[in-house]
Symmetry: C2
């Protein structure tokens, strides 16, 4: 596996792959790779001839009071992980490579990008959409993989691809969980043992929601109440939001209908955790 640091080198490698008729699969990440990322890399290995993983902690998607500086960085571990999962290129540009003149062009996904995480983190999805598009232009992938864990990010990237008419196949990979059910996240390493125990209320709350829907509950207010009951019972958690929304538009729904996406965001000490579950009418 080669580590690629320059934009023009990555572009040239992608160009060569395309000339040979090879399919390029791309996994954009912020590094600190875990089993969730590994599943994305494996998915791309199954659907592409050349797999590119990027590690770029994108400053424009962090708010002024967020954890940009503290965000975990582990290039040695990430390199090992990429080799182990069979990636062909690890693309690790610097901030000056991606924003040589600072950010002067923005990709905006209004409405969809302003809800939920976007309301909690203004400008977050503008930063995500902008950097993902830049990386797409550099890497020129045929396919890309994102994790369902970041459900709103998936919706934003889906809209980016559809509306900007990018010729890229989007693979959404199920959320990877640890043995006790907590969704894997690079931020989990911030949790103390006590906070970790508290955080397990999140997967319990998702299970509670699935159960009430399986029992025939259609009203999203009642499903939300069941989720809040579990989360509020855990003193170590502070709920940011619990919402039931349409899976693509993320507009809140009053009834489950065919299905609805349950989105949960909580704070656990200084650490913000999100998770979600697709609830399907039985």
């Amino acid at each position: 596996m080669d580590i690629v640091r320059r934009v023009h080198s990555m572009r040239e490698l992608s160009r060569q792959a395309r000339v040979k008729g090879q399919r390029i699969g791309f996994v954009p990440t912020m590094g600190a790779l875990h089993d969730g990322h590994a599943a994305l890399i494996r998915r791309m290995s199954e659907h592409a001839d050349v797999v590119v993983v990027s590690v770029f902690v994108n400053p424009t998607q962090f708010g002024p009071r967020e954890d940009l500086e503290a965000y975990p960085r582990d290039l040695i571990g990430d390199t090992d992980r990429c080799i182990r999962e069979g990636a062909d290129y690890l693309f690790v540009p610097g901030v000056d490579d991606i924003y040589p003149e600072g950010p002067r062009v923005w990709v905006d996904v209004p409405d969809l990008g302003d809800r939920l995480e976007g309301a909690q983190r203004p400008g977050h999805f503008r930063g995500v959409a902008t950097v993902v598009l830049k990386l797409f232009h550099i890497v020129q992938p045929h396919a890309t993989a994102f994790g369902q864990k970041d459900a709103q990010q998936v919706a934003v990237v889906r809209r980016l691809i559809e509306d900007l008419m990018l010729d890229i196949e989007l693979h959404v990979v199920p959320t990877a969980r640890d043995p006790r059910g907590l969704a894997l996240s690079s931020r989990n390493r911030y949790l103390s043992p006590e906070q970790y125990e508290a955080a397990l209320a999140i997967p319990r709350a998702l299970t509670a929601a699935r159960q009430v829907v399986e029992q025939g509950q259609q009203k999203t207010d009642d499903v939300r109440a069941a989720v809040r009951d579990v989360l509020d019972a855990e003193p170590g958690l502070a709920v940011d939001y619990v919402e039931l929304v349409h899976p693509q538009t993320l507009v809140p729904v009053g009834l489950i209908g065919e299905h609805a996406l349950l989105l949960v965001a909580v704070r656990c000490g200084e650490t913000r955790l999100i998770d979600n579950a697709l609830l399907v009418r039985p």
Copy 2:
């Protein structure tokens, strides 16, 4: 020459050309093609194996009180012109093809896109940048040509390509003029014979500016005064702006320096006309 109406057909034709190793040159237009567009098409013929011309009157770059409905449309004339100039494909998508769900993702070029024409026409360059990027994604060109006539549009597209890291060669083609010096524009056809005579003050004003700079004038205020003198002497014109700016950033400059870009916008009856000249220190 083939006329292509569907996005997926255009995409497939571009894909086939790229597989064959052919270079694609792309001229995006709003139709009503004149000799200025012809020069763009010829430039692309010289630098590409396959030349694609698009005709799309993009609603998102028109303001609510602008001439979207009245904008000249002439598909028969455009087709003839494209055949004559040697284009390979004329891509003519409908509004529903380019915005099937309405505009839900925007490409924003703040600052650069907010000045001058952007100040007179709020949202104009957001519409331009968004549609140009969509068309780039569909047509997948190696090279594209834009006319210097729309200097701010050139600056916006240059920044779009640079900052979003598009692998596209930008060709800027000198402004085509009629025998009496008026810059060609699809909107010139709106001018009555009297208005046409009045509009000729614009190229006269650009010439006056070149002369005072050749005579050693460095202060942009004085150059601007020379331009205003010519324009204000013509009762058929109302000046929107006369500015001397840095050619890439479009930031106003106080002294000519190496060179400065003179930008002029006037109204001639209901018709808005723009023109520009690069002024170079002698």
